[in-house]
């Protein structure tokens, strides 16, 4: 079973923050290769695992760097707003230890603060087992 385990200093205060790679989906890459068109790049981001997020969210500036286009629009509710329309993108999310979720529907939305660029939501967590070991300050995700 593919997995990664990471120890995070001060896990209680910082939260489960990890570095992930956001890449164009395998399907899009294959289609573009077949048409001899340029392949969008992958971008490393700092992400927080968020069990309170229905879906995975990425900051819009990251999407602009990857240069992929939307495949849909969804409405979201947040603590401060209701029914906000956001673009949806299809992409791959690669965790440490090369644990890859090949097809994820990412939402582009603004995130507070400079350091968190992505929220890993339950659409990705549904694929595996998340272990949050607060005592040892360790997070494990098995797919």
């Amino acid at each position: 079973m593919p997995s990664f385990t990471t120890q995070i200093a001060n896990l209680y205060k910082s939260g489960p923050i990890i570095e992930v790679l956001i890449s164009p989906s395998r399907l899009l890459v294959q289609m573009l290769k077949d048409k001899n068109q340029p392949i969008p790049q992958s971008v490393k981001v700092l992400a927080m695992i968020d069990t309170g997020a229905t879906s995975t969210v990425v900051r819009s500036d990251i999407i602009e760097k990857i240069e992929i286009n939307p495949i849909g629009v969804v409405k979201i509710n947040t603590p401060s707003s209701v029914g906000v329309e956001c673009y949806q993108y299809q992409a791959a999310v690669v965790f440490p230890n090369n644990l890859a979720i090949e097809t994820a529907d990412l939402i582009a939305a603004p995130l507070q603060g400079q350091h968190i660029q992505c929220l890993i939501g339950r659409d990705i967590l549904k694929h595996g087992v998340l272990i949050y070991n607060g005592y040892a300050q360790i997070v494990t995700f098995n797919v």
Partner: protein
Amino acid sequence: MRADLLKKDLDYFESKLGELLGKSKGEYALIHEGQLIDTFKSKEDAIKRGYELFGNSPFLVKMISEVEDILNFTSNLLAS
């Protein structure tokens, strides 16, 4: 935001929703440049067809349903 990339497609979807519900409720519509391309049983098939036809260009895949699912976020990191 609707003034941006998918405005024409969203406007088309909303204007034709009643008609689409009659024929393809529960399926996924693939719309591009304000035109219905086709409907599909699965979202993956609709996206795949969208990539085949339009490559890395914007297109709209939307579930044909009376009530739209709204995604919820409890984190105050989201600034929307």
